[in-house]
């Protein structure tokens, strides 16, 4: 549905997007993840035909964005970072205007406006001025605007930014519902959002694609080895040596220490369950075992490690699962 090939955008000497390539299949939700200034918005703007790329190719719904911009735009709905509202128009007026501009036929216009207002739950705000709406409602009107011409592709730039928790859940739910009929790209820097709504993630940093994978695979990939967290009441004694002698343990590191209780991170070979041995060794030494749990690398840590230079090298050295690209 969307195919991006070697997309590059330079502003003078600054390269905002550097050789980005990815694909999105029909009906899929793709999460676009990256720190501020990573090039998310620039990529999205290129895909929507707002600005041209310096190099590369982008095909949206079967049409090249640069060669057949009108056809591509007809099939794309775009919600920019700030909803593009005219403050002196009422919600209904605004949607009518957008429907006209997007070329919705006049006999369907009323029906489409009613549908999107219902879908985004703004029907009760129809006669309010868009300039007077709260942030959450503005965002929803923005979403309604993107949906009005029933596009195949939806491009949403931080759709949940500035919403309250309830609205965030509602918006995510709405995006999931839309995924069947529409192909969606959404950008965000909220990580749980990606793991909850997206089927695939593109992590982008400094204009380059760092990884493309499913959220689960990404988490698993960086885990590499199993890590346990144990909290021990060792009466001041050092448990590192004892823990290190357990078969299968590759590394023991002190994680925290408070009021005589010491927490250790114990890494072990992959696929080997050391929990029983750990517990036995601690109890046999006469210490109190207060906590024992596996530490799972969250998507947040994956993200951080992928977007910070030094850890990136470590990640690249590890076996890369299929479908992932690490430069």
């Amino acid at each position: 549905m969307i195919e991006v090939q070697h997309l590059t955008k330079r502003y003078g000497r600054i390269t905002a997007v550097d050789d980005v390539s990815f694909r999105v299949e029909r009906g899929e939700i793709l999460g676009f993840l990256g720190p501020n200034g990573a090039g998310k918005t620039t990529t999205m703007r290129i895909l929507t035909g707002y600005m041209p790329a310096t190099e590369g190719k982008a095909i949206v719904a079967g049409f090249d964005v640069f060669d057949q911009p009108l056809e591509a735009k007809r099939r794309t709905g775009y919600l920019p970072e700030t909803p593009p509202l005219y403050p002196d128009m009422s919600v209904a007026e605004y949607l009518d205007f957008v429907a006209k501009v997007k070329g919705v036929p006049s006999n369907e216009r009323r029906e489409r406006i009613r549908y999107v207002m219902e879908r985004t739950r703004i029907a009760d705000m129809a006669s309010r001025l868009t300039g007077k709406l709260s942030k959450g409602y503005k965002q929803r009107v923005g979403l309604a605007q993107a949906l009005i011409h029933n596009p195949d592709v939806l491009i949403l730039d931080e759709p949940t930014a500035g919403l309250d928790p309830k609205q965030i859940i509602e918006t995510r739910q709405l995006i999931k519902e839309l995924a069947g009929d529409h192909t969606i790209i959404l950008s965000t820097h909220i990580l749980p959002e990606v793991s909850q709504t997206c089927q695939r993630v593109v992590i982008i940093n400094k204009g380059r694609v760092v990884a493309v994978d499913t959220p689960d695979n990404l988490t698993a990939r960086l885990r590499g080895s199993e890590t346990m967290y144990v909290q021990v009441d060792a009466d001041g004694a050092d448990a590192t040596a004892v823990l290190g002698r357990i078969p299968g343990v590759t590394r023991v590191a002190e994680a925290d220490r408070r009021e005589g209780l010491v927490g250790y991170e114990v890494a072990s070979e992959q696929g080997r369950d050391i929990r029983r041995d750990l517990a036995r060794a601690i109890v046999a030494s006469g210490w109190g075992l207060l906590e024992l749990r596996p530490t799972r690398m969250s998507l947040e840590e994956v993200f951080l490690s992928l977007t910070t230079e030094d850890v990136q090298a470590v990640a690249a050295a590890e076996p890369v699962p299929e479908g992932a690209t690490v430069p």
Partner: protein, 235 residues
């Protein structure tokens, strides 16, 4: 076509939703009224002098040539400044509020966007023109001008307004966000700016022959009329 009209309608609505339309129309009415009274006074004084002049009897003054022509000539200069004032915000404002992203990602061409904005500005000029037609109407009610050169002049005024609003509407090409180049009148608008006066001058010879004696007998009634536009302009 629907989308051009939609943009034009939106533009016109946004002019009237903000104070800008009222300020511009007010300023226009005020200055137009001022020019009108000023030139009318001059015209009346001239007529009086002419009627008292010489042994050949009363001389005729041509209202088209001596009144409407200088009026529109002066007023065109106003348009030259007012229209860019109105239109210079059209793009920079969209860019500032981010709504430009909506327009540029919609399935419409740049030409359609510019046309829509241009027609919106011209519609506002149409409203301004209605205000000025009151004054011309007064001349028709109390004087006896020829209507053909007046129509030509007004359409020339429209061309001039079109040229000067163009400078704001198409300023998207300029690299600045706040489109200050809109203020610099282009050679094109300067050319058109001189046309209303030029058009009114068109058939000067013919008019002199025709409207000669009639307007001189009417001058006393036009004197009364001069107080009306001045009150109009202050509204």
């Amino acid at each position: 076509m629907t989308n051009i009209l939609a943009i034009a309608q939106k533009e016109l609505k946004s002019y009237f939703a903000s104070p800008i339309a009222y300020i511009v129309i007010g300023l226009w009415a005020l200055l137009y009224g001022w020019f009108f009274t000023f030139i009318l006074n001059y015209f009346l004084r001239q007529s009086l002098q002419m009627s008292q002049f010489g042994a050949q009897g009363p001389q005729a003054m041509n209202i088209n040539q001596q009144m409407i022509r200088p009026l529109l000539q002066n007023v065109t200069i106003l348009v030259l400044f007012l229209m860019p004032m109105v239109t210079m915000r059209t793009y920079s404002e969209e860019k500032r509020s981010g709504t430009i992203e909506l327009l540029l990602t919609s399935p419409i061409t740049d030409f359609q966007i510019i046309m829509g904005k241009f027609l919106g500005a011209m519609a506002l000029y149409g409203v301004m023109l209605l205000v000025s037609l009151i004054h011309i109407g007064v001349l028709f009610a109390f004087g006896n001008p020829e209507w053909k050169p007046v129509i030509t002049s007004i359409s020339a005024c429209c061309c001039s307004a079109a040229a000067s609003s163009r400078s704001g509407c198409s300023s998207r090409a300029s690299p600045t966000t706040r489109s200050s180049p809109a203020w610099s009148p282009s050679p094109c608008s300067c050319c058109c700016g001189s046309s209303p006066g030029w058009a009114a001058r068109g058939d000067r010879q013919r008019k002199r022959l025709r409207s000669g004696s009639r307007s001189s007998t009417r001058w006393t009634t036009s004197a009364k009329a001069s107080s009306i536009p001045s009150t109009l302009s202050t509204i």
